[in-house]
Structure formats: structure tokens, C-alpha cells
Amino acid sequence: MNTDRPAAEEERLKALRRERFNNTEGERRYQQLVAQRAQRRQQLMSQSNVHKGTLSEAAKIVGTCTLMCPEFEREERQLKNNIAQPEMFPGTRQADPARTVKTFHRSAAGNEEPLPEDLRTPETLQRTLDHLVNVVIAADQELRSCHGFVRDRTRSIRQDFTIQNIRDSTTVAVCERIARFHIVSLHILCGNKDFAEHQDMEQLRNTLKTLIELYDDHRKARVVCANEAEFYAYYIVSHLRDPDAKRVAERLPRHIFTAPIVQQALKLHMLSESSTAPRRDTGTGWAAQNLGVQFFRTVAAPATPLLLACLAEYYFPSIRRSALRSMCDAFPYQEGKEYPVTDFAEMLAFDSVDE
């Protein structure tokens, strides 16, 4: 025992330890749920086609959970002291069932299949996303403390849709909002030393890939998705300097290809191509435009929507490096007649000379 602490502080820590380790009611409830789950799993295995050999015979799993977090997970996390601050009753370390949200679970070979009770219904998933946006993010609009939490919980939402193979308009709407969250995060947290932007970009690309597959399915079923052009534009810009994005764009239906936002995205894509950027296949940069000045002016143009510009911002350092390389080739050194840094800052859209 640390005898240097004041007595009041010592009492407080003791109370916390008691609360944590002597939570016999919580422990009992958890064990009860574990036993129930084992029984339930046995029941389902004997009733259903869960382990049939062929895909066509396998039954689709349908979620039945109407809470934002299934009860078993909530109890388990409470026991393991794994409740995040936005999920607690204020001033306590107890999970609030109305605010606890299911976490993302990595798929692993040894994991058991989820039970229907572990998977949330589409309406619950939508309500969960509403809670994350309207309550959690609304309370921390700078995203400083809630970003990691929201990123994990939105990933879990997408996972629930994927496991249940739900590919309807609800999934499209939810994935669109999640994608917009990632884009806004990339902009707001840009430059923050605790923010790993490549992780957010990876999640954004995964979400956009899912959306593109959903749009293809809907188009085959002749269902119109109102925001399809917008998200194809985000897909194109999130894959700057990847020729495959242009291949995907070239195959789009005419009305989406000619949509102003898609054309603006393609313009940014073409302007960003550089023959000096590192790439896996040599020879693919031939006659690339590498027009940094036009790129930044296109980003700032009124025709470029805000989110598209936020997404393009991710590539600013790379575009500026390529532009600087070509300027180094083009402008020889002249003592006393160096290129004015104010002009340089203006050309490449720096906020200030200091930046």
C-alpha cells in the first residue's frame, strides 16, 4: 500500500476496487448469460443449416437484437472494465444500457459464430448511427476525444450489416453517412499528432468499396440511389494516382459519369497524376499532367463541394512535393533572384508563408 497518498484518496481507491472486484451481482448475471448462450447455440445448431457444406444451402443469419449493444457484450465489458466514457452513467463507471454501443470484433478462425441475439436489426443499426452522430459527435464536434470511439462503433455497424448480408437501401444510407464521417474526420483532425489518418483513409476506402458494390446491385435491380454520383466522386478522389479509379469511372452509366461532381473528381484525379510520384509500375506516368497550381485552384473552385475538397486535402503534401520537384527542374538557381516564397505559397495554396 502506498502510504504517501492522503487518506481520502486511499478510501476512494478502495471503494473503486470494491466496486470492481466485488461485483458479485454482475458476475452472476454474466455467468448466467454465458450458460444461456451455450444452450442457445446448441439449440440453433440442431435446428438450422448453419454448418451445411454448400453456400446455397446455408441459412442466412438474421439479427434480433434491438439494443445498441447486446446484453451479453455489455455485461462482459462491464465485468472487464471495458466501458468507454461516452457509454457510462455520468460520474460513474457503470454502463448505461441506453448509451452502450457494440464494439467491432475482429474476425478470427477460432471465434464462434455470432448468435442472432448478438446481431442488431437494420432499424437498430440506423438508430445506433443516429445516436453516434446526434449525441456523441454533437457533444464533441472537434472529434478530439470521440473520434476513435465513433470510428470503432461505425465499423461495428458495417460489420453487422455484412454478417447478415443486408444489402438494401438502409445499408446504403448508413454507409453513406459513415463515409461522410470519415471524410470530415480527415479534414478536422488533419495535422493532429494523435490522429492516424491512413487508418481513417483505409476505413473510408472500405466503406466506399462496399457502397460501390451496393450501387451496382441496386442498379441491376433498377433501383435509383440518389447519392450515387456523390460517392463515386469520393471514390475517385480517395484513389488519386490510382489508374483503376479511372477504369471504374469509365464504365459508369452515362448519367453518373457526366454528373458535375464526378467530372470535378475526375479533373482532380487527372491534375494530380505525376510522372515523379513513386509508383509500382514504371512507365505509367508518361505525359502525366502534374499540374499542382491548377489542382489547388480546382479544389478551391465553387464547383468543388466541401467534402470533396476535404478528401482532396489528404493528398496535399504529395501534390506539393511533386510540384516542388518539377519546379526544381525548371527553375535554375540564381543568387539574389530566388523564387519569391510568397508567390510559391500562393501557387501551392499554403495558408501562410510560415506553413
Binding site: 457526366t258 514504371t282 505525359a287 518539377s326 519546379m327 535554375p332 540564381q334
Partner: protein, 406 residues
């Protein structure tokens, strides 16, 4: 049994038993007239299923059964079902091909692979489901792996069909929703067989054509130009239609590499008027005109998959042309290799029909041209001039090496 069917069964039985590839090649030719005639006659009989009892090898029996089912029912089933039958046939052929002495099956493989591709197109046109291309690509990949893995003597090797299958695989891979490279990796191994005398010329030409198109989709322009050029040269002159198709893509690859076709070449192959317009705008350094022509024919170029690559990779070359033209203008007593910023800016503004272009944008364009060695020059910001190289300020584009990545 129907006498036509009896004759067909006897021939097929004999061909399978005695490994007569030539006969099998004739029996399994998927010309529409053969198929419809056979189908018409065989549909009158219900007993050809007993044909399988004549074949001792179960894989050959299954293969022939599936093929005959396809021939019999091809007029009566949907394109999708027909595609499914051919996929099954391709699977069985893959198994048959892995057997040690079945090099004679290559003719059948070629015919089935081609029919599979054509059927996939019909199935897609009917259902709009791109998954048919993915299924086709998977079957072709399996066939290719077996064909390339053969180590037998060249004259009897299964590798003889690898180039044909690889070409078809590249063709289908451009239609799948996956990146073409997902399937092309294996297809590229067939390049080593292009110099082999045992590979048919038509297969070589097809392969080079589809390889060129694949490289074009990957924006590997020079590699695309080389393959398409070889395909065009090797394609016999009397295959006018095929040469014209190759020329469409060769035009794009050559233009981006700075080579423009002559009027005579375009006339010879009766190319559409848009190609003449594009060449004229390129030669004039008219960027706005070039892009307008391209946009007016957007549907045609998009269908070919060439719209974006043309729009993107000709821009700098057209600016280069505009710069070259302004540099040739006699500016009085000024040094010939020095061009004032104001003259370049005017030329670029006219070329792009963009009166709002400013010095910074112009410098960005010039810096990009210089860094890619498309123009040999230096820029002097304070003096506001472009100092072109005295010797060859505008090197021949086709001679410019690839820019080394830093």
C-alpha cells in the same frame, strides 16, 4: 437411334478413343451454322445420353455429354444457362487436360474457351450481371495454369493453346469488376511463347491486341503501343476489319507517344471523321478544340475505354505543341531561343480558351513539361522569360526515355 446422331457418336467415340485431335477439332467447331444444324437434328432424338456408355473414360464421357447437351439445347435455353453449361464444360476440360497424354485436346480447349467468352457476352447482355465475366475468367485461368504447366515436347505440348487462352483471359478481365491485374498476372506469362513456331499466328495477334489493351487500361502507354503495333503489323492485310479495330487503340497509344497517323492511313482504313479532327487539333496545339471533339464523341470513346486516357494524357503534349509554335514565331531582334512569358501565356490562353489563366498556372504547365523532358528549357521568374535549349528544345517525343522515378 437417329442416323445423324449415330454417325456423330461414332465419330466422336473414335476420335476420343484414338486421340484424333483433328477430328475432334471439326466435331467441336462452334460455328453457328454447325451448331444449329446439329441441334436441329439431335433434338429429334432422346437417346443420345446413352452415348456416354461408349466412352470408357468418365471425364471424357462427362465432357462429351455436357457438350452434346449444350449443342442440343443451345437454341432452347437462356444465354445464362448456356453460359453455365460452357463453364461446366471448361471445368471438365481442365481436368481432362491435366492427364499426361492429352495434348491433342488443345483444339477442343481453344474452341470451348472462345465459345465461353462469346457466351459470357450474350449472358451479360441478357442479365446485366458482370459476375458471368468473373466466372468465365476463373475457368480460363484454370485452363491457362494447366496449359502453361506442361513440360512436354513443343509439337505436342499443351502450351500451344496457352497464348489463345491467355488472350481470351485478358479480354474477359477487362470486363470484370475486379482490377484487370487480378487475372492478367498469369496471362502475362504467355508472352514467352510469342516467338514459338508452334503457336498459331491468329492466336499471337489476338494475344498482342488484348495485351496492348490491358496495358492501355493500366496507363502503361509505351508498352501498349509496342504490343498494338506488333499486332497491327502481324495481322494479315486481308483481315481489314481486325486491322481497323487494332488501329483504333493503336491511334490512342501512338498519339500519347507523340506519333500521329497520316491522312492516308486513316483513309485506308476508313476511320471515322473524329480521328481526323483530333489529329488536326493536336497538330495545331488547340487544346480546347481537341477536348471539345473528344467530349462530342464521348460515348464512342467511352465504349472503347479510351476517353479518359485521351483526355488526360494529351493535354501536356498539346501545350507543348502550342509552346513550340509560339517559339517559331519571328519576334524581331530577340534571341531565337528566348520566349517571353507574355507570349507563352497568350499562346496557352488561346490554346485552352481560358482567358483567366495567370502566370502561376503557366509556370506550373511549363515546369511540368520541363521536368518530363518534353521541353528542354529553363524558366526565369524574375526576368519573365523561357530560355529554350539552343540545340533541340523540343526533342522527338518517341525518343524521350521514361522519366526515372525519384
Amino acid at each position: 437411334m437417329n442416323p445423324v446422331l449415330q454417325a456423330f457418336v461414332t465419330s466422336a467415340n473414335h476420335a476420343f478413343t484414338h486421340e484424333d485431335g483433328a477430328t475432334l477439332g471439326k466435331l467441336f467447331v462452334f460455328t453457328p451454322s454447325t451448331v444449329s444444324e446439329l441441334s436441329r437434328r439431335i433434338s429429334a432424338s432422346d437417346d443420345f445420353d446413352q452415348y456416354t456408355s461408349y466412352i470408357t473414360d468418365p471425364v471424357h464421357a462427362q465432357t462429351t455429354h455436357v457438350y452434346l447437351t449444350y449443342v442440343r439445347d443451345s437454341q432452347f435455353v437462356s444465354a445464362e444457362t448456356g453460359h453455365g453449361q460452357l463453364c461446366r464444360l471448361a471445368e471438365l476440360l481442365t481436368v481432362a487436360l491435366t492427364a499426361a497424354n492429352n495434348g491433342w485436346l488443345v483444339q477442343v480447349v481453344r474452341a470451348v474457351a472462345l465459345a465461353l467468352c462469346v457466351q459470357a457476352q450474350w449472358a451479360f447482355a441478357s442479365t446485366g450481371d458482370a459476375a458471368v465475366y468473373t466466372q468465365t475468367a476463373t475457368r480460363l485461368l484454370q485452363l491457362l495454369i494447366v496449359a502453361l504447366g506442361d513440360t512436354g515436347p513443343e509439337h505436342a505440348s499443351k502450351k500451344r493453346v496457352a497464348v489463345a487462352v491467355a488472350g481470351l483471359l485478358l479480354r474477359v478481365s477487362l470486363r470484370t469488376s475486379a482490377a484487370p491485374g487480378a487475372y492478367a498476372g498469369k496471362a502475362l506469362e504467355a508472352r514467352s511463347l510469342l516467338d514459338s513456331s508452334s503457336v498459331a499466328r491468329r492466336d499471337k495477334v489476338s494475344f498482342m491486341y488484348w495485351l496492348g489493351r490491358y496495358y492501355l487500361v493500366c496507363y502503361n502507354i509505351d508498352a501498349a503501343r509496342i504490343q498494338l503495333d506488333r499486332a497491327f503489323s502481324m495481322c494479315p492485310a486481308w483481315h481489314y476489319h481486325n486491322k481497323r479495330i487494332i488501329l483504333r487503340y493503336l491511334f490512342v497509344a501512338n498519339m500519347i507517344c507523340g506519333r500521329l497517323p497520316s491522312h492516308e492511313l486513316l483513309e485506308k482504313y476508313d476511320m471515322e471523321g473524329v480521328y481526323y479532327q483530333l489529329v488536326a487539333c493536336f497538330r495545331a496545339g488547340d487544346l480546347a478544340g481537341f477536348q471539345n471533339v473528344l467530349v462530342d464523341h464521348m460515348d464512342m470513346f467511352r465504349k472503347q475505354g479510351n476517353f479518359l486516357v485521351l483526355l488526360e494524357r494529351t493535354k501536356m503534349l498539346i501545350y507543348r505543341t502550342a509552346l513550340r509554335r509560339i517559339s517559331l514565331v519571328d519576334r524581331g531582334e530577340e534571341r531565337a531561343n528566348v520566349v517571353q512569358y507574355r507570349d507563352v501565356l497568350t499562346a496557352f490562353r488561346v490554346s485552352a480558351q481560358n482567358p483567366d489563366m495567370d502566370v502561376f498556372e503557366m509556370e506550373g504547365i511549363l515546369a511540368s513539361l520541363i521536368s518530363q523532358k518534353l521541353v528542354l528549357a529553363f524558366l526565369f521568374h524574375h526576368q519573365k522569360l523561357v530560355n529554350l535549349s539552343r540545340k533541340t528544345p523540343f526533342p522527338v517525343i518517341s525518343q524521350i526515355g521514361k522519366v526515372k522515378p525519384r
